[in-house]
Symmetry: C3
Subunit: 315 residues, 3 copies
């Protein structure tokens, strides 16, 4: 594993899940692995879980962390090649990435989608430029189109439910007042395809995810029908992909309620957080024992620790 830019970096998801669970059972087992090494964490966007869980994961491995918020602590970065840099951006990614490589052994980056320019977002400019111009491993802490740390934690959370039969997993779009990126939906979809599970996506028309990612996956426009017999309901909002960045509807019809959960096979409820209560899902879903959202967040630590461990061991 050279970088952890997306789920393709994981050679074998099942082994990875098992190893994450091992780390969770004994988090300090490799406490000296990161000795004299430093993880740089660079944020272009807000973070709570990702920041704290990755920092905690580093601590478990004895790895030092240096955190920087690029939005207000450092220089505005330019990512385009060949630009005359006479505007607001005072440092080029070529220098920034090369320089950071010298101070850190691994660098983790959070850079959300702009949702204003689909091509730019799909190029994953920030993440890819760091990977191109750095000489150290790069970890994706949520980029424009992928959130592979979340997806690995989600895979572990599903595995921990110890299903004896092949579970039915439903990814359902849910409402949200703001336009949100597709990163979590994309990575969850990619991850579930590697599990032994029945997988269904449900969403209103117009909210189709990138068809390259969802091809061959059953798409059901009737949410209640999709939920029937589900063992896991993963709720998530995303904005329109076709009409890129747009919010097409803001009513409550697609909110997950206790009523809807009754249609399932006693399903567990999942969400990556932060979640808007009584918009994405009702209080009675989130406060019920069916909710796995807190455990998903907990598993973020061990998913990040697994990635850090692999990158150090290969380094």
């Amino acid at each position: 594993m050279k970088h952890y830019l997306n789920l393709d970096a994981i050679p074998d998801l099942q082994s990875a899940i098992d190893e994450v669970i091992d780390l969770k059972n004994d988090p300090y087992a490799a406490e000296d692995l990161g000795r004299q090494k430093t993880l740089g964490m660079l944020f272009f966007n807000p973070s709570l879980r990702t920041r704290l869980s990755t920092q905690k994961a580093a601590q478990h491995l004895g790895l030092k962390t240096m955190i920087m918020n690029f939005s207000n602590e450092a220089w505005a970065l330019e990512f385009e090649d060949g630009t005359k840099m006479n505007g607001l951006r005072s440092e080029h990614i070529k220098e920034a990435a090369a320089v950071v490589s010298q101070y850190c052994d691994i660098v983790a980056i959070r850079a959300f989608a702009s949702l204003s320019n689909k091509e730019k977002d799909e190029e994953e400019q920030v993440l890819k430029c760091f990977a191109r111009y750095t000489s150290i491993p790069v970890i994706n802490m949520e980029s424009a189109t992928a959130h592979p740390l979340q997806a690995l934690a989600d895979a572990v959370t599903i595995k921990e439910q110890l299903f004896t039969k092949r579970p039915k997993i439903v990814l359902t779009w849910a409402p949200h007042p703001r336009a949100l990126p597709h990163a979590v939906g994309n990575s969850f979809t990619k991850m579930v395809q590697k599990l032994d599970a029945e997988f269904v996506i449900t969403q209103p028309k117009g909210y189709e995810l990138n068809p390259k990612i969802t091809k061959n996956i059953p798409l059901i426009y009737n949410q209640e029908k999709a939920l029937e017999g589900a063992d896991f309901v993963y709720a998530k909002n995303w904005c329109s992909y076709n009409d890129y960045g747009k919010i097409l509807r803001s009513d409550e019809e697609w909110m997950i309620t206790a009523e809807k959960m009754k249609l399932t096979n006693g399903a567990k409820f999942m969400h990556c957080l932060p979640i808007r209560r009584n918009i994405v899902a009702t209080d009675d879903v989130l406060d019920d024992s069916c909710s796995l959202v807190i455990e998903q967040a907990n598993n973020r630590t061990y998913a990040a620790q697994w990635v850090l461990k692999k990158l150090i061991e290969n380094g």
Copy 2:
């Protein structure tokens, strides 16, 4: 001690003071106590002393720290139950607190009074919600109505003066251009009542603190009279409690001057800092050897260390 939300958490103030002084004499004596443990420090407001002294205290105990400024690094939090979260706040305290509990062993929180809604402030919503929804100990790094780390440090600073007689302590209101909270005044008042000392509060009419906290304490509206024979003068501004959040006067009459200090029994001058020079007190008071303000700040480290130590030992 389960949490350190206010002074009531201290079982015996005299013993606590003695133990703080022991820590000050040998700060690294329990350097391994915090091994493999993490303190989360969450700030909703600015901080200099509290942040650095608490971080230093953690270092003395070998405790790792993770610091987050909620105002610009994380998601805006919702604290009300049952809200439809369709506004600016994207994460509910229920999730945030539960999630933070998984990454930290202790969490410390700074959340000032709004000074716009007395009832909300007195509910201590931010602090109490964290304590309610977290599974780990919570430390108050100044909340809407209390600043118990400051008060413990102040108690130690008074004790260090080694008074042979019962000292007279005067808490005096002082001017300030901005409306300030009551937290320091409240906690100092509560703390002094546990000392063997004569205690007097002096302030202009209209600046009475919460009567539940000041009952039985002599209140003198004539500052010069109150200062007579004082051994300690603790100056602090607060806004009106009755006319909540209002500034009733902005003249210099109540500023502490060298002249006024002459009315005392060679009193020591105290203030929690930050202090506005020549508004709250004159340069000649602050630059005189009577001033204990720097030592008060120093004692913040050992007060915080005592709290951290107790919470780890009980944990």
Copy 3:
């Protein structure tokens, strides 16, 4: 060495360079030197290299760091004596510096020039006030008029080129869309004068640096002539010193290009970063093997480590 405020703190530059190179060869050799010690890093301005390299240097020495952005995390500071503090600034440097001294063993400060008031900038108010009111060593992480950590790293970078003959070093002004401080130009000029080198400054008329710093140094207004036979070209923008803070020209004539580099003796290109590509220098200069800019940044770590080591050893 009591403080590291400017290059005058270095007793012998040649020995310092050699010692920095020793640290670079074995960065963890003194891993226990900083045990139980803390470096406070206070930022009034943005930073990437300085922040990460100094933090990394501290890690090499086992020194803990506490970082604070004064612009948004702490209280606005007052630096003038005798002020009635009834404005926006809520804490005086006298208290802030004294307080920080108690929580840290060394404090490092970044405070850029205002470029609006020459006298104030030359007084180095922020840095000098910290040095005056603190009881611990102070490190300059770029002040209004000096950047001695950069200059030491630059000296090391030049030395590493292993010149057998006395090299010719050219400091050339270069264009920039914003008014920039003189700190880097000043410190580079002071440093080079201590090397065994031919030194020339080239710049457009009106961009003369402080004559106290540049006296006796050949000044050539014709950039191409100055570059002839150069072994090192150090490019840097600064605003006008005489017409303080002004930008006198914004054309491209002084940009460093591959064409211009051909006039030199196969010179190495240097810049402190961040650099505006195709404004200060063209892509083909920066992407060529003649560029030392990334190595300069790398050497920042060991320059800072040398300073920290000296301050701890003398402490």
